[in-house]
Amino acid sequence: MAVTARPSSAEKALDVERIRADFPVLSQTVHGRPLVWLDNASTSQKPRAVLDAMRRVYEEHNANIHRGVYEFSERTTAAFEEARAKVARFINAPEAREIVFVRNATEGLNLVAYAWGRDNVKAGDRIVTTVLEHHSNFVPWQQLAKDAGAELVVIDVDDEGRLRLDQLRRELERGARVLALTHTSNGLGVVNPVAEIVRWAKSAGATVIVDAAQSAPHTSVDVQALGCDFLAFSGHKMLGPVGSGVVWGRASLLERMRPFLYGGDMISRVSIERSEWNELPWKFEAGTSSYVDAIGLGAAIDYLSDIGMDRIHTHELALLRHLLPKLLAEDGLTVFGPHGLEERVGVVSFDVKGIHPHDMATLLDREGVAVRAGHHCNHPLMTRLGVPATTRASMYLYNTTEECDVLVDAVQKARKVFGV
């Protein structure tokens, strides 16, 4: 991805100060220091527009969706379905009925592994996935492979954390029923060339499931350009509320799938002997949906779209360009993943020799800096990198170069405490 904007102009273009004013939590202090929120790959903070959209539902017209014939239910149902249409436009889905609201990406990926996988993956089939996957796009396929008697093929990364495309292509050419692939690595911030990979997978006849939990918040995601069959992401990582998530699937596949959960709202008719399923997408939305969360996600998408995903991505790369050289200049500090800005989002995973990531995160917290320390739900990748854990700083549209400097200062202070 070409980066043309200079760091200063990218920031100016984004007007970060104005954006920050929209996020009440960003003015909080931690241990007497201004909060520096760099754990966005875990969850993002929420702008007032999202909080207000949700409060308006509860205060002005709350009612269960798809059920009441009174005005409140009709208004809430309309707002819920409008949110679905916003999601469809956001990822360029051909039809809104292909958007299924779930709790998070994990639930969406499990929905596919259960509702599609169990009827379509047979003994001897090959399931191809990668060592970059978050556990949510790895364990469901590993377990499906065990249950179905299928073979699980796990593609490696090179020493810079890039997917071994040669190996992936070769394995796909040997035939595959499923390719489960992350768009962007949550542990390293590497962006995979999904569209190209999908073409190989399609030649092999594979159905392709893309985990977009780390890409949808930070880059433009276009399911038609990617060419995949299913794609899932979480709302809470992209300014939306916790409990909002999406799985998109091709209508032709979703229509032939059995439901994932049974219950209210997902049926069209139930007799003692048998049940018939509702139409898409409601066939997959059993019980009362988290409709207020979905409406909140719609507001988050409005907020992101008004700014523009490409500008957000450019801003994050500018932060990365500012931060990476400073981190790499630290003695004993290793940055995992590619050191260049190509094919990357604003995630930096690092380790300082002699300081365990948990100690690092504790010391950074003293300076107000919130980062993630751990295995990032990515055990196979940590094993591949030969570390038990890393410290991960992940950026978003409201972060500044000054905050990156606070991080670097805090890392230096941690090194002093540990004498390394």
């Binding site: 365990h356 990531p357 948990h358 100690d359 320390a373 751990g374 295995h375 038990p388 405490v417």
Partner: protein, 136 residues
Amino acid sequence: MDDLYRDYILDHYKNPRNYGELEGATHHYHDTNPLCGDEITMFLLVGEDGRVQDVHFTGRGCAISQASASILTDEVKGKTLDELKGFDRDHVLNNLGITISPARIKCALLSLKALKGAAWGLTAWPGEEVKQAATE
């Protein structure tokens, strides 16, 4: 001075006491903290009089987990297994002498869990073997 990473904590982390495998150990117990990848194995050599003649530990992980193990082993020699079984969380936290936040309590107490497992004659926590077998 940092209130958590005090000099003696960092000293125990960088120069752990009683570190390394213990040849001829009568008891040993391995445990991990999956959240952060901390690992501790406790080795005990218990004599015929029922008292701990020697104690060692191996492990890797954060300063809190490793210093806690080092400090804990310093007071184990000469104790009976029943005395070790009586060690509790407050005892370990008091000995550490620092205030541990809730997110780090598991790090601080991993060594106690490993020590008690060894004292009870276990090699893994009851149920773990069953759980492992079920998920394989």
